[in-house]
């Protein structure tokens, strides 16, 4: 039931009471605006830091060979620790709780890769098939390396989308999987194309089977890094696992177990948890401030509504004396307040989101501040909350005012 006349009456009242309308609207718009800025900034910061963790699974452990710094059993410090396939096999068979494991070696011969007349320098990374899981790469086409590739010393390669774009031009683009590219002059068959969400230098990679690399390019069984995942173990259990690995390596490679430089073990879960804890804290803080802002808005709107109704007591009395029902009075006041707060909330919403949008466009890309966006559902809920509380705050004095005896309201005492 749309009553045009009632709306004309409401709009006429709003138009003639500009300051009152502005004050009510401003406290709502400002509250919503600040909330969006706050939530958006928090989100932007979190997105930025979360991005830093992309490009590998969060339950991974990376063990890299280093150089000793403490004398041990007659050995002088400064000795390079060298990992071999035996270390890989030993860790794989003796350490409990490993989900998947892969060795890697640094390829430092000639990293030129070519296809037909296209050349490029990319990182060539020998590894086991499981590295796809640890590195969290997504297969776009074909497949990653498999066990048979490794065991049979196949000359196969999985290339990243960047490498694919660089080497395979025009008509060759579709034919990449199955064709041969030359790595340091040796032909390797492309078995798959993958994408990687990690930092850009990690996206400029090709992966080849580790034993093939050892046989074709290196001529020994050295590896440089062992990486593994820990399944769904707790942080404490993983901590124990790390200690066990450190002890085992110190016994085999003869270095002091306290020597943190001899081998370097990075436990990503620990880093990840610490950062996520920090963000839980920041989120809580953002929420507390946000709720505070909304409460300030509610108090502001309620105050204004109460004063507005008080100010209108006389008007209500007049309207009542000339035949307005209490219902029509209360409904008019409430419709008016809903209209003002809803419109103001919308304005605050649009301004806040607009500013966020402008910020993410105008600001140069900052590593730790990405895509600042407020949760729209939260913002809309907050607007609705403000509308409700404004209405609620106005309703009781309005009902009270509608029930007073006009002669008393209208008498000059």
């Amino acid at each position: 039931m749309f009553d045009l006349d009632k709306w004309q009456e409401i709009f006429a009242t709003i138009k003639k009471n500009r300051l009152r309308t502005f004050l009510t609207g401003f406290s709502v718009a400002w509250g919503i605006f600040m909330l969006i800025i706050l939530l958006g900034s928090g989100k932007g910061l979190e997105n930025g830091v979360r991005n830093q963790f992309k490009g590998s699974v969060n339950n991974g452990i990376w063990i890299s060979a280093g150089r000793t710094t403490i004398p041990f059993q007659g050995y002088k410090p400064g000795r390079d620790i060298k990992f071999t396939n035996e270390d890989y096999e030993r860790v794989k068979t003796t350490i409990d709780g490993i989900d998947v494991i892969s060795a890697r070696s640094w390829f430092d011969i000639n990293n030129t890769i070519s296809y037909k007349n296209e050349y490029g320098n990319f990182t060539i990374s020998p590894c086991h098939p499981s590295y796809a899981i640890i590195k969290d790469v997504q297969i776009v086409e074909g497949r990653f390396l498999n066990e048979i590739d490794v065991q049979k010393y196949r000359k196969v390669v999985a290339i990243s989308t960047i490498v694919h774009d660089a080497l395979f031009k025009n008509g060759d683009k579709e034919k990449a999987v199955g064709s041969y590219i030359k790595i340091s002059g040796v032909p390797f068959k492309v078995v798959g194309i993958f994408s990687d969400e990690g930092p850009e230098d990690e996206q400029r990679r090709v992966y080849i089977p580790i034993y093939t690399a050892q046989r074709v390019f290196m001529g020994d069984n050295e590896i440089n890094q062992i990486s593994l995942t820990t399944g769904d173990q707790t942080l404490d259990e993983v901590e124990k696992m790390v200690e066990q690995i450190r002890k085992q390596f110190s016994a085999v490679h003869k270095f002091d177990v306290e020597d943190r430089r001899a081998i370097n073990i990075w436990n990503k879960a620990e880093d990840y948890k610490r950062t996520m804890d920090l963000f839980a804290g920041i989120r809580l803080f953002v929420w507390i401030v946000g709720i505070g802002t909304i409460i300030a808005g509610i108090v502001g709107v309620s105050n204004i509504m109460i004063i507005v109704v008080k100010e209108r007591t006389k008007e209500i009395g007049v309207r009542k004396a000339i035949g307005a029902t209490p219902y029509s009075i209360v409904s008019t006041i409430i419709t008016e307040s809903i209209l003002i707060t809803a419109f103001a909330g919308y304005v605050g919403l649009v301004l806040g989101i607009g500013l966020m949008e402008l910020l993410s466009r105008a600001l140069p890309p900052i590593e730790f501040f990405v895509n600042p966006q407020a949760d729209l559902r939260v913002a809309i809920s907050a607007t609705i909350l403000l509308i409700f509380s404004g209405t609620f705050a106005g309703m009781f004095p309005a009902i009270k005012a509608a029930n007073i005896r006009p002669i008393e309201a209208l008498r000059d005492e």
């Binding site: 003639k16 007049v318 309207r319 004396a321 000339i322 029902t325 029509s328 005896r405 002669i407």
Partner: protein
């Protein structure tokens, strides 16, 4: 037209009972021009509230136009107020953010008459009050007498049977008061019953019948036959 029988009204504030009207009997015929006089506390505003269906009473009966006014719903009370009664106040009580025409037209809004139509009618009534050129003016641009004439036009626009005036000349100078009283008399000649609450003797002397109220009962009545136009 208006008939009160044994009307009682008390107010309760905390534990105190204030017995304001103590068995009032009053009969006012259609077309009468009546004034109700009394000092403050005599119960005249309470009486006016009850006559205006703005308040209920405890005991007795109140008949308006042969309809018993008792235990009405707010909606019904508003309907009677809108159709049968017009109010004129001491401080005019025009709505400050509406112009003269919109103020006059407001009762018709609550009757559901379209904006265009009610504004046209309002202009006719303003014309009768000699205020047509002031139709677009806001209340704060009008003099006291003009404001009261706007308020009277507003009271008349719904063609009421009775106009209740609460100290209508209280805020006006004596010359303007006389003008307003002449206006009331003119309106009264069209058959509308006028009830004027006042404490000014000069004003009450311009009415046909004076009712003196004291401590919640009618103390005396004075009919001024020589002034009657009937």
């Amino acid at each position: 037209m208006l008939e009160l029988q044994g009307l009682h009204k008390s107010y309760f504030t905390g534990n105190n009972e204030l017995h304001v009207l103590k068995g009032l009997d009053l009969k006012i015929e259609q077309g009468e021009l009546v004034s109700i006089m009394g000092s403050s506390g005599s119960g005249k505003s309470t009486l006016l509230n009850i006559l205006g269906i703005l308040d209920s009473y405890d005991k007795g009966s109140y008949k308006l136009n042969n309809t018993l006014i008792s235990n009405l719903s707010e909606k019904k009370a508003a309907h009677y107020r809108n159709n049968m009664l017009g109010f004129v106040f001491q401080s005019f009580n025009l709505i400050t953010f509406k112009n003269a025409m919109e103020n006059v037209a407001l009762p018709l809004y609550y009757q559901g008459i379209s904006r265009k139509k009610r504004n046209k009618i309002a202009l006719e009534y303003l014309d009768r009050m000699g205020l047509r050129e002031w139709a677009e003016h806001m209340p704060n641009e009008l003099s006291g007498g003009q404001k009261q004439r706007v308020a009277i036009a507003r009271a008349m626009i719904s063609k009421p049977k009775v106009i209740l005036a609460d100290e209508p000349t209280g805020a006006l100078d004596s010359a303007t008061s006389i003008e307003v009283m002449d206006l009331f008399r003119e309106i009264n000649k069209t058959g509308i019953t006028m009830i004027i609450v006042t404490h000014e003797k000069d004003i009450s002397e311009k009415t046909d019948r004076i009712i003196y109220l004291k401590d919640g009962i009618i103390e005396s009545e004075h009919i001024r036959k020589e002034m009657s136009y009937v």
